[in-house]
């Protein structure tokens, strides 16, 4: 009996917590007069499906495409640079490695809103702002690479040393052992971590807003911000935009939830 009381309480708490999400979807489905009704309705009386309209009128395809491009670039760059580094940090142990690891952990915490000032001036001076999406990719990679390394390292630590040593005894080279033994065994961890940094970069805002001047190169977050403008009252459209944008993120996340949680906690607490 007690277990079912707890279940009902748990459901109630989850419902209260997720209410903002419900309100987003609900507003997206309401008609533009219904959202300004007071008292507000908690179930749409006249459901509107204006997703396609908002997608077209706000030019969301272009924004989402830019976000995808940046997130993909960041993920490719971070996995290429980070995986090997995470592997070395999990295998070799000496003072220098300790120092490197400490420095990486420190770089993980630098807020983008504070780093963007020197990055903007530096990129401006070397002419990188002429290709602003690449500039965002480079800056955002520096932001997520330390996190990627820390989480991936936790995965490599779990792979038994003996497997690699056995391959080396059998005459495999270090490179061979890395690509044929270590990478396949750490594959799941690498994948989940990549998805995590992909999702984070897909929602990136500070660098895009500050480094990209042209509207047609902007990301979905900046598109949403311009939509919200100073005197926004098309909340119906804004919530539709938000719903289109976050639904894929939520679906990917729900599918990988368990793995992301375990990877994340391993990285943060060990």
């Amino acid at each position: 009996m007690k277990r079912y009381v707890l279940l009902i309480l748990g459901l109630a708490m989850t419902a209260i917590y997720l209410f903002p999400l419900y309100w987003m979807y609900l507003t997206a489905l309401k008609s533009s007069t219904e959202i300004f009704q007071y008292p507000p309705t908690f179930w749409p009386s006249d459901t509107q499906w204006n997703f396609l309209e908002v997608w077209k009128s706000r030019d969301m395809g272009r924004y989402i495409w830019n976000s995808l491009l940046i997130a993909t670039g960041v993920t490719i760059l971070a996995t290429t640079l980070g995986t090997g580094c995470a592997y070395v940090l999990s295998r070799v142990r000496n003072v220098w490695i300790e120092i490197a690891l400490f420095a990486i952990l420190m770089m993980q915490v630098l807020p983008s809103s504070l780093m963007v000032t020197p990055i903007f001036v530096m990129f401006n001076q070397i002419g990188l702002l002429a290709s602003p999406r690449i500039a965002v990719i480079l800056a955002q990679t520096a932001k997520v690479l330390p996190l990627y390394i820390v989480l991936c390292r936790a995965t490599f630590v779990q792979v038994p040393r003996e497997l690699e040593e056995a391959a080396l005894v059998d005459g495999s080279s270090r490179i061979g052992a890395f690509f044929h033994i270590m990478l396949p065994l750490a594959r799941n961890g690498i994948l989940v971590t990549s998805v995590l940094i992909f999702l984070q970069s897909f929602g990136e805002y500070v660098y895009a807003r500050s480094l990209i001047a042209k509207n047609e190169l902007q990301t979905a977050t900046v598109g949403l911000q311009t939509f919200m403008g100073p005197n926004a009252n098309d909340w119906n459209g804004i919530m539709t935009y938000a719903a289109i944008y976050v639904t894929p993120i939520l679906i990917v996340f729900m599918l990988l939830q368990r793995r992301i949680v375990s990877g994340l906690t391993a990285g943060a607490l060990k």
């Binding site: 708490m13 993980q108 520096a142």
Partner: protein, 300 residues
């Protein structure tokens, strides 16, 4: 040449290469900007000197200028309030939920997982949703508060300078709860069950068990979660950009947003870097304390 190829293929050169690539990247795009930031905070950098490599050196003038700004006091206290209140509530609500979902009932871990939806969403989208929830005339929060009799009249959450900061803090607490809850859940799960059973046999009540077993055993975890909370709260920018943009009249402005405003809205870039240098130093100190404490706990 042959030797170099061999060591990369099959020796310590392999390690150095893999480590070096990532470190080199981080030095160019993270460490160097920090140093450059410090240099810029000692120069005059604005629209005219932006692209020049030879800027006038002004010493600590920029730091003096920031602190002599009339809003500096407001922004300092706003930042303190933002961090302290966010963490107190994120932690206590997160801890409460972690304890609740630790109990044995059907679907407990599944429901706990659903909370993370709030954490994975882009903060700017979360800000947009809360802006609509907080809306003065048609917002659902005002409706709930007035119909429950908690508030007499509509609160203008985002345009009233007395409450704007608290509105941002509430949204930030919502964002931070899942992370706190999950990390604390991991800690709770690692406390052996028989410790509680032994205490129960000795006649300790639920509160006594929490005070004398859970809290002391969770000390390391709580320390880690608090320092991560400080770090994440000081990273929060998107939410402020979406909700109030620091306004009205800087009443909800915090240091990290202020720094960005200097650099990208009024183009007083050297002032922006001065604020940024001070905040980066603070964040790094907190992070160093955190890393040291966790590495002491798990010396592997």
């Amino acid at each position: 040449m042959q030797g170099i190829i061999r060591t990369i293929r099959d020796g310590s050169g392999f390690d150095i290469l893999l480590l070096g690539l990532a470190l080199l990247y981080l030095i160019i795009f993270s460490a160097f900007p920090i140093i450059y930031n410090i240099i810029m905070s000692l120069q005059t950098v604005d629209m005219f000197t932006l692209t020049s490599f030879n800027r006038p050196f002004v010493g600590l003038q920029n730091y003096y200028d920031i602190f002599s700004q009339p809003v500096a006091r407001t922004i300092f206290w706003n930042t303190v309030k933002f961090v302290v209140l966010s963490i107190v509530f994120q932690l206590s609500i997160g801890f409460g939920l972690a304890l609740f979902f630790q109990q044995d009932f059907p679907g407990a871990s599944y429901l706990r997982g659903l909370f993370l939806a709030g954490w994975i969403m882009p903060a700017l989208v979360v800000g947009a949703i809360w802006k609509w929830l907080f809306a003065g005339d048609f917002g659902v929060i005002n409706y709930v508060l007035t119909s429950l009799g908690i508030a007499d009249d509509r609160i203008f959450w985002l345009s009233d300078p007395n409450v704007a900061l608290y509105a941002v803090i509430i949204a930030n607490i919502w964002l931070g709860i899942p992370f706190n809850m999950i990390l604390l859940s991991v800690g709770l799960a690692s406390i052996p069950r028989d410790v509680y059973e032994a205490a129960e046999l000795d006649g300790a009540g639920a509160f006594e068990r929490f005070r004398s077993i859970t809290l002391p055993l969770m000390r390391a975890q709580l320390g880690a979660v608090i320092s991560l909370g400080v770090i994440f709260t000081l990273q929060q920018f998107d939410l402020i950009a979406a909700l109030t943009q620091g306004g009205p009249a800087d009443s909800s402005n915090v240091a990290q947003y202020w720094s960005w405003q200097f650099s990208f809205q009024t183009y007083e870039i050297s002032l922006g870097s001065a604020v940024s240098v001070l905040m980066i130093i603070f964040v790094i100190v907190v992070a160093a304390v955190y890393v040291r404490s966790t590495r002491h706990e798990h010396s592997y």
